[in-house]
């Protein structure tokens, strides 16, 4: 296994606020990783740094050994926390846009998933509920054959049944060499599909462990451990 995602003394400051603080982290290929932390802990900042939407104040972030840029964007499929798609577009138009934009985008996969979630490709985003929009966006992201999927809060706004389907979608669409990093605080919903968890608080990594090790050593679920570690 080789490293797909690495942070070396990574720090990001906004003025005097430290959002990410001297993070050292190494993630190997072929895993599903939970990036878990309370609100404002630095999860989204870390993911944005990986996508070159932000640049580090100091330290390095490397995707497949390279600094975020054109080359890494080819292999990274990113689900941002907020939608960036144009509201007036119809789903099939967005699919065309993605096909033009990304070599590794598979439209047939997208149409397949739209069908199982009963979403009409002729509908405009504007007319959809918040949850449905989120589903469309995740479908687009998972229809790329990427090496690294960075999913920022993918299940926040959808109902429990759709949540199950989305998790199934993630399981089905990532291949053995791909890596999925999911940031969320809805832990109990996703902990069964995670290999590994990274706990982050106030910009610092406070714990990294495999899910089975946590259960083995502490006899409790990741969800329970999270509530203990981040007790208010």
């Amino acid at each position: 296994m080789s490293t797909i995602f690495e942070c070396k003394d990574l720090t990001k400051k906004f003025g005097s606020t430290v959002a990410v603080s001297a993070v050292n982290l190494k993630i190997e290929r072929g895993q599903i990783i939970g990036l878990l932390g309370p609100n404002g802990s630095g999860k989204s900042t870390l993911i944005k740094l990986a996508n070159e939407l932000l640049t580090p104040t100091s330290g390095n972030i490397l995707i497949d050994g390279k600094k975020p840029g054109i080359d890494t964007k080819k292999i990274v499929s990113y689900l941002p926390e907020k939608t960036y798609l144009n509201d007036w577009m119809r789903v099939y138009q967005i699919i065309e846009l993605f096909s033009d934009f990304y070599d590794n985008f598979k439209p047939e996969k997208a149409y397949d998933m739209l069908k199982s979630l009963n979403i009409n490709a002729n509908d405009r985003l504007k007319t959809m509920s918040k949850g449905t929009k989120e589903k469309v966006q995740l479908i687009l992201v998972m229809s790329r054959e990427a090496e690294l999927y960075l999913l920022d809060e993918p299940i926040g706004g959808v109902d429990p049944a759709a949540r199950d389907y989305i998790l199934q979608t993630i399981l089905r669409n990532y291949n053995e060499n791909a890596t999925v990093i999911i940031s969320t605080h809805l832990i109990s919903d996703i902990e069964n599909i995670l290999d590994y968890v990274v706990f982050i608080n106030q910009g610092k990594v406070v714990l990294t462990s495999s899910v089975d090790d946590i259960r083995d050593e502490k006899g409790k679920s990741v969800d329970v451990l999270f509530r203990e570690v981040f007790k208010c």
């Binding site: 599903i32 199934q168 399981l171 902990e191 069964n192 995670l194 006899g219 679920s221």
Partner: protein, 123 residues
């Protein structure tokens, strides 16, 4: 098949136990082919790596055989299944006996109770 995963124990050990039960109860008969790791993982809504680990454990115990090219199947050796079954029974019985001890029963008394219950069930 409905998978039931509790939150306080490693997932792969629970998967191992439940697949064992499926083998014992004939859901997967001797010599039958297992679905792919991917399909089984999806069915149980778990990570494929976790399912892989559970199957590796069963392979170690001799219940599952991996073929180099054609996936996995259940062993054809009824003896292996019998051994695993007895081992599981022993584990459950020793757990039960410990509980009875806590209740203050001698082993002989426990046997008498079991005997009587079995007779009653026959009637």
């Amino acid at each position: 098949m409905r998978w039931e995963l509790k939150s306080d124990r490693p997932i792969y050990t629970q998967l191992t136990e439940q697949i064992e039960l499926m083998i014992f109860s004939g859901v997967y008969p001797l010599g039958s082919k297992l679905p792919s790791v991917r399909d089984m993982a999806q069915d149980a809504a778990v990570n494929p790596n976790t399912m892989q680990r559970a199957l590796a454990k069963l392979e170690e115990d001799g219940l599952i055989i991996t073929h180099r090219t054609s996936g996995r199947s259940i062993t054809e050796d009824a003896r292996m299944v019998e051994i695993a079954k007895i081992k599981l029974a022993q584990e459950q019985i020793s757990e039960f006996l410990e509980k009875m001890q806590l209740l203050g029963f001698e082993q002989k008394e426990v046997l008498t109770i079991i005997d009587n219950m079995v007779k009653e069930m026959k009637n």
